[in-house]
């Protein structure tokens, strides 16, 4: 062993920003999180040039996975063009040389904040979700040591109680985003603050989903073909947002998750939330040849 064999040539920056030891740690923790679907694995979230809580966890996962052949797409609340999505995408491309895309079908790696694209994801695609609060039990048990014990015991009674109380108080389940979901029949996870509309897309999907919380230093995953069941009561079925009948005012796309745009006269107009899907729909309407992929929701309904 010589000094030369232990050192590497000088570089102004490690490939993909993270240093090799940070990547190795993330690799080990990603493997463990895939091995126990839905179970939160702790990791040492490193510093990245972004404030914690802005997607640093997912960013570290993306940086670990990236190589110059991997095409990357970044979404923020469905949109590819918001400041957060655009700056993360530019950063990923700058530090890795990876090509970027807005099209869900072209991407190999999709980093997303709070949405899952409307088009099907394939087996060769990886979805990385940004998670602000990885602990589904936090609202019923703020002490994380006790919450860990509850996960170990699969003691989720209080989650059901919370949902029951919402029904008693309001007549329906009020949980809008981060709907608690049972993964592989064992661990309850929060699917990150995706709307209820998106949770069924995780169930028995073809793609791998990795959820990473940088501020909270936890990582968990949903492997392909894994059961993800939202917690519901037998007599109160799971309901997604009532967007199935809405039409996008710009693209004419119908039956997808919409953004509500308040109008001056007090009414609302709607725009499809998955911005690139909207763009492709507009192009198709205008007679361009575009490749619109199959969607999870058909005519506003998730096929059983």
């Amino acid at each position: 062993m010589s000094l030369k064999s232990l050192t590497k040539p000088w570089q102004s920056m490690s490939y993909g920003f993270l240093d090799p030891s940070a990547k190795r740690e993330l690799r080990r923790k990603m493997l463990k999180s895939v091995a126990v679907p839905g179970c939160q694995m702790p990791y040492a979230s490193r510093e990245v040039p972004m404030a914690r809580g802005w997607g640093t966890g997912a960013l570290q996962v993306s940086l670990t996975l990236l190589n110059p052949q991997m095409c990357v797409k970044v979404i923020d609340q469905g949109a590819d063009d918001s400041v957060n999505a655009a700056s993360i995408r530019r950063f990923l491309a700058r530090v890795s040389g990876a090509p970027t895309t807005l099209d869900t079908l072209e991407a190999h790696l999709i980093q997303s904040r709070h949405r899952i694209p409307e088009e099907f994801l394939r087996e060769d695609q990886i979805l990385v979700l940004q998670v602000p609060n990885p602990e589904p039990l936090r609202s019923v048990q703020p002490n994380m040591s006790i919450a860990r014990q509850m996960h170990a015991d699969a003691d989720y009674g209080r989650m059901w109680l919370q949902l029951y109380e919402q029904i008693v108080r309001s007549g329906r389940i009020m949980q809008g985003a981060s709907y608690p979901s049972m993964v592989n029949g064992r661990h309850v996870m929060t699917p990150s603050p995706i709307p209820r509309w998106d949770v069924p897309k995780l169930n028995m999907s073809k793609h791998l989903t990795i959820l990473s919380a940088g501020r909270e230093k936890r990582i968990f995953a949903v492997p392909p073909y894994t059961r993800v069941e939202p917690l519901v009561f037998d007599d109160v079925p799971y309901q997604v947002e009532d967007h199935g009948a809405l039409t996008c005012k710009r693209s004419g796309a119908k039956g997808f998750f919409m953004n509500e745009i308040p109008q001056d006269d007090g009414t609302s107009a709607f725009e499809v939330s998955d911005s690139e899907y909207g763009v492709k729909s507009i192009r198709q309407r205008d007679g361009e040849a575009v490749n619109l992929g199959g969607t999870w929701y058909k005519h506003g309904e998730m096929p059983k």
């Binding site: 190795r24 091995a35 179970c39 860990r148 592989n184 073909y225």
Partner: protein, 178 residues
């Protein structure tokens, strides 16, 4: 203006190896290709100073020591390289973590021969319905032993390597011997 860093040879190999491992572990029973036909590729991608490693194969020792990992007994190791497995006794001591700390379950790398020998049926996360595969080179009673030792989510995760090909069997997979 920032220059885009270039992916070096080591970095590219580690990235490819990890991609193969992640793909294999998320789709149990389906083989993917490592960057090289050796356990050293896995060591370079995963192991560093924070790891405790046990290796039954003395040839891996130089790579393990170069990575800075602590060489330890089987029971303390988080990464276990057993080479070609001969007896089941060496599995007993491998760290399986606990329901409280499933992350302490070890990663175990074994050398096997794929597509021949005993037929097993896999089901669980990552397998759409069921998947039948053939694996030779494991001692008799290996899968029964594994099923008895595990109490999900405690357990260890297996990588079975044959040349460049690797398959992953995470602890969540249910294995039935046909």
């Amino acid at each position: 203006m920032l220059n885009t860093p270039v992916q070096g040879v080591d970095e590219a190999a580690a990235n490819k190896t990890f991609e193969a491992l992640l793909w294999a572990l998320s789709r149990p029973g389906l083989a993917s290709n490592l960057s090289a036909a050796s356990d050293e590729a896995i060591i370079d991608a995963l192991i560093d100073r924070e790891c405790r490693v046990y290796s039954a194969d003395p040839q891996l020792m130089s790579n393990i020591l170069c990575s800075g990992a602590t060489v330890s007994e089987v029971k303390d190791a988080d990464h276990v390289f057993l080479g070609a497995l001969r007896d089941l006794a060496s599995l007993d001591d491998i760290s399986k973590g606990s329901a409280l700390y499933p992350n302490e379950g070890a990663t175990v790398v074994l050398r096997v021969a794929l597509n021949k020998g005993r037929k097993i049926r896999l089901s669980g996360p990552g397998v759409k319905t069921v998947l039948d595969i053939q694996i030779a080179g494991l001692p008799d009673g290996f899968w029964q032993n594994r099923a008895e030792m595990f109490c999900y989510p405690a357990g260890f995760d297996l990588f079975l390597r044959d040349g460049r090909q690797v398959i992953g069997i995470p602890r969540s997979t249910i294995v039935e011997v046909l």
